[in-house]
């Protein structure tokens, strides 16, 4: 049976960060940019909305009508940004996989907008839909078992509920591990590789699950360290700010207050956003690249190596 090395897969993610730091930064930036854009666009809009409510002596019907209009606008912009974020997520995830499975395609930071991206989007949506269906079936079965065994009384009821909740959680994670090679396999084979991805993962669910936990652990530890450093820097530098005035303005109008705070400190916020972009790119690479590497290792043992795309 073909095998893959978890160590090789994870170290390949670190290797990618070392080889292509700028690409990793750009991937993170692309993921962070919509969030910054949504704050920059939505905070003033929300501020205006709050200001409209506070207008004294205005006709309540007029206020309600204006509120409805503003809310629809906010809702529209926010939905649009969410969609843009989803598209960027697909583009960036595919770029990370491409950087591992087709390492020679380095131009534009491995970013493209083509059939690979469409395939990854379709595979992603299919997996999400599949998980919802699986969760629905498991919940229905859980309800059936719950009804059937409720007569046993306490403490068995609680034990059964806990066992089922843990079972559902583990089943979903194992399922995620089992299908985790479908997207990288689709990028690698330039086709919808549902079957290939499924076959590559056969008999390796435990190893993939273990790798998933390990990467999650590394991501959590990294986040905690960076959060600690960030907090230390913030505590050391926050003394220079006029906190009572900032808190007063936020209390008066949270959105306008935050907007003013961001405007006054934009250089620091820009630096923070850039640092966060780099970190996000690193964590993203760590979360995706090992699976692409595992896919490549397994496929290399299954068939003779194919020529790289370029």
């Amino acid at each position: 049976m073909a095998r893959f090395s978890i160590g090789t897969a994870i170290s390949e993610a670190f290797d990618l960060v070392r080889r292509r730091p700028l690409a990793v930064f750009v991937w993170g930036l692309l993921m962070v940019a919509p969030s910054v854009a949504s704050m920059a666009l939505l905070l003033p809009m929300m501020g205006e909305m709050i200001a409209a409510v506070g207008t004294e002596g205005a006709d309540p019907d007029q206020i309600q009508s204006a509120m409805m209009g503003d809310m629809m606008q906010v809702q529209g912009v926010s939905s649009l940004l969410n969609l843009v974020q989803l598209v960027l997520m697909v583009v960036v995830y595919t770029a990370v996989m491409r950087a591992v499975v087709r390492p020679r395609e380095t131009s534009f930071f491995s970013l493209r907008l083509g059939m690979d991206e469409l395939r990854v989007a379709v595979v992603g949506v299919a997996i999400v839909v599949g998980f919802y269906l699986l969760a629905l079936i498991l919940v229905l079965l859980g309800v059936g078992i719950g009804f059937a065994t409720w007569g046993l009384g306490e403490p068995f009821n609680w034990l059964i509920i806990v066992a089922m909740a843990v079972g559902l959680f583990v089943a979903i994670w194992l399922g995620a591990a089992r299908v985790s090679l479908m997207a990288p396999a689709s990028v690698m084979s330039r086709t919808f590789a549902f079957e290939e991805g499924w076959k590559l993962g056969r008999g390796r669910t435990g190893a993939l699950f273990g790798m998933m936990l390990l990467t999650l652990l590394i991501i959590l530890v990294t986040e905690m360290i960076v959060f600690g450093i960030g907090m230390a820097i913030f505590m050391a530098t926050a003394g220079g700010l006029d906190w009572p005035q900032i808190l007063d303005s936020i209390e008066a109008d949270p959105f306008a207050g935050l907007q003013a705070l961001f405007m006054a400190n934009w250089p620091w916020i820009t630096v923070a956003a850039l640092v966060i972009s780099g970190l996000y790119g690193f964590l993203l690479t760590l979360g995706i690249a090992p699976f692409a590497s595992a896919c490549r290792q397994l496929a290399a043992q299954a068939v003779p190596p194919v020529e790289d795309g370029h």
Partner: protein, 298 residues
């Protein structure tokens, strides 16, 4: 050409790429249907809303007699809209099938109103009745078991109820897949062929199910990408159909005068999206039939 689920799943995109004009015709067709539906429903719907509001304002507990005019109005609406929707569906399904099976007949974006459409209509109605009967039978069995469970006070039987619900869903999916080639066969062989689909789908359940799921997912992706284009346009013209909320209770003329850009953009966007999504979802089944038939005769 042998049948490949992933190849066939892309047929909708291929059809549009081969004959972009077909998408324009289908979009115009959808737009015409939407305008017709809006023209028919608009005033009646306003009447329905007013009648409901009056009933609500009266404060008294409504009786069945009070509801009678409302039911009558809804009945009249459906009496007009149901046939319109059935004919329109038959025309568009037939057009998509024709675009895959007889690509040379591309005039009017493959849209016709003839014997093919009549046969597709008959097949659709029969399939609807088959699934309706299945739903009634399954609901009856499940209802009976629920009744027994409650009467016998045997909670363990609830597990059986859940398993029966899941089994009913599985049977529904199985039958949908096994009958999924009925319309393509009817179009290709120019005769009503409902149960011939069983022979063509034998041993191909999973690839066909995978193809259908893939087509459904691609339609969702198309919908998501389409809404990225649609949203700014709708916002620029007054928030789409949501913007009509303030005009509730007004006459159709007032609604059209006040919100025609929003309505026009909404109809245009939905027409194009519906045409593309229906092509993405339905064309693969015709491609599957074509490839299975081709593979068998090779």
């Amino acid at each position: 050409m042998a049948f490949s689920a992933t190849d066939a799943a892309f047929e909708g995109f291929r059809v549009v790429r081969r004959h972009p004009m077909a998408l324009i015709f289908w979009s115009l067709f959808y737009a015409a249907i939407m305008v017709a539906a809006f023209a028919i429903m608009g005033p009646n719907l306003i009447g329905f809303v007013s009648a409901t509001e009056q009933l609500e304002k009266s404060g008294a507990t409504p009786t069945l007699e009070d509801f009678a005019p409302l039911f009558q109005m809804m009945g009249m609406l459906f009496a007009v809209l149901m046939p319109l929707s059935l004919i329109a569906s038959a025309m568009i399904y037939a057009a998509i099938s024709r675009s895959v099976l007889r690509p040379a007949e591309s005039a009017f974006g493959y849209l016709r109103l003839g014997m093919d459409e009549l046969r597709v209509l008959v097949v659709s109605v029969v399939l609807f009745l088959v699934f309706m009967a299945l739903t009634i039978v399954m609901s009856g069995i499940i209802g009976m078991v629920i009744g027994m469970t409650v009467a016998a006070e045997m909670p363990a039987l609830w597990l059986l109820v859940v398993l029966l619900v899941l089994a009913a869903i599985a049977v529904g999916i199985w039958l949908s897949v096994r009958l999924s080639l009925a319309i393509p066969i009817t179009m290709a062989e120019q005769r009503i062929a409902i149960f011939d689909s069983f022979a063509f789908t034998r041993g191909r359940f999973w690839p066909l199910l995978g193809m259908a799921l893939l087509a459904g997912v691609m339609s969702m992706v198309v919908g998501l990408l389409g809404s990225m284009v649609a949203m700014p346009l709708q916002m620029a013209t007054g928030g789409g159909m949501m913007g009509l909320e303030g005009l509730e209770g007004e006459s159709l003329q007032v609604i059209l005068q006040a919100a025609w850009p929003a309505i026009a953009v909404w109809i245009l966007i939905n027409a194009v999206m519906s045409a593309l999504q229906v092509a993405v979802v339905y064309a693969p089944f015709s491609a599957a039939y074509r490839d299975i038939k081709g593979g068998a005769s090779d």
